[in-house]
Symmetry: D2
Subunit: 135 residues, 4 copies
């Protein structure tokens, strides 16, 4: 069990409108994705193809920033405004999809991109799943 | 002139689809708002009415996280995916509006809330203005 | 295997002065600790004893900020300046020790504090271990 | 007057051990420096010399992360543990000095590096000044 799950289970006041399971899954997925993207950006920057990988580095960094903010907002319970969370999850879905596509396009050459694409796809799905429970 | 403006003016490759003036205004406003919200949260937490101000503290912290991430994403040029920026600006508009309303509701009693509400309204407008140039 | 570990193993240029095992352990521990502290702050804020738990909330938030920054800096390889990393790890050790002590002092009453104290102690040790390999 | 200053002046409980003036100066300088470094990293990445500027990009990103965390920790009042703040300010001094030196070394060629070096030097000094009042 992750710290996200363990702590939310002991939290005195989690937003009733959100199911705990997809909420915890989204927190874990955004944290993993932020970390995968930070390291992928660093690996892309350090390698020989840095000039070609610039869009990948920028998208990695954007994805890391948005996912890290999303994890923080989701972990802060109860949530006072679901409209904000919905918009933030939409941003997460958008950036994860773009970052996954970018990383997939050179996954054959760069193992860090292959792994990062996987984390982005999982995070995209977790954000979609949580959004699905909010309508 | 702020560092945001000065540096973007020397940047070799700013997204052509974005006008520099509303872009710099949005960066400055999100940075100011993040700082106003962080300090307002701290002031609300330290005062006598902490139990009543809990929704204000949570909204301040969410607004600070989202605005800080938005400032970073907007400062990273060129922007590779306008859809992500659009969704993130929508989240910024949403959280700034809620935070402004919350802070305005006790601005008469807490000067830090009055000032923070002002920063949130200015940021909400700056995000709307930039969104307006992107359609 | 965490994404931190997987990606660093595929990174083209990790600082030679750092052993991969304690480096990955420190990255994982700072990420876990940041998440534990964010949720503990939220739980402390939401509960009945909020007025008494204010130092715990502030220390949780400081620990989350410092650990999140440390995870990012450690994940960005190669590291160009070990003196900065050393100072940042010292800050991590300091804030984790204070946050652990604070949380331990009411671990009997608040399960989220007990779990958070555990994450802080583990992170304090991981930062010390990495510092130990750097001298 | 910045939002940092305005809000701290309305804060009900600022740490007595810290003078407000160097505290506010350090908050403002770390915020400016974080923003300068984020944009400088983006400009270095976008330009023709990206391969040569990799150490500059990495140091910019580290400086942005550490300064942003420092601004947040300093803005959260009262401060419960001065030892943590001292260690964090030491990390700020270290990373600002390195980043300034790095940016100065190619300031003649890149205007964004010249401006960023200036922000780093000012921040290094503001952190030193605040440290000087804490002993």
């Amino acid at each position: 069990m992750t710290y996200g799950a363990a702590l939310l289970e002991t939290h005195p006041d989690v937003t009733a409108e959100l199911d705990l399971k997809p909420l915890v899954a989204a927190i874990d997925a955004t944290l993993d994705c932020a970390q995968a993207c930070s390291t992928c950006a660093s690996a892309c920057l350090a390698g020989k193809s840095v000039a070609d990988l610039r869009p990948c580095i920028r998208t990695d960094l954007a994805c890391a920033d948005i996912c890290a903010a999303t994890a923080r907002v989701l972990s802060r319970q109860p949530i006072d405004d679901l409209a904000t969370v919905r918009a933030l999850l939409e941003a997460g879905v958008a950036v994860c999809a773009v970052c996954a596509e970018e990383c997939e396009s050179h996954a054959a050459m760069h193992e860090h991109c292959r792994i990062c694409a996987e984390a982005c796809r999982r995070c995209e799905q977790a954000c979609r799943d949580l959004l699905g429970t909010m309508t």
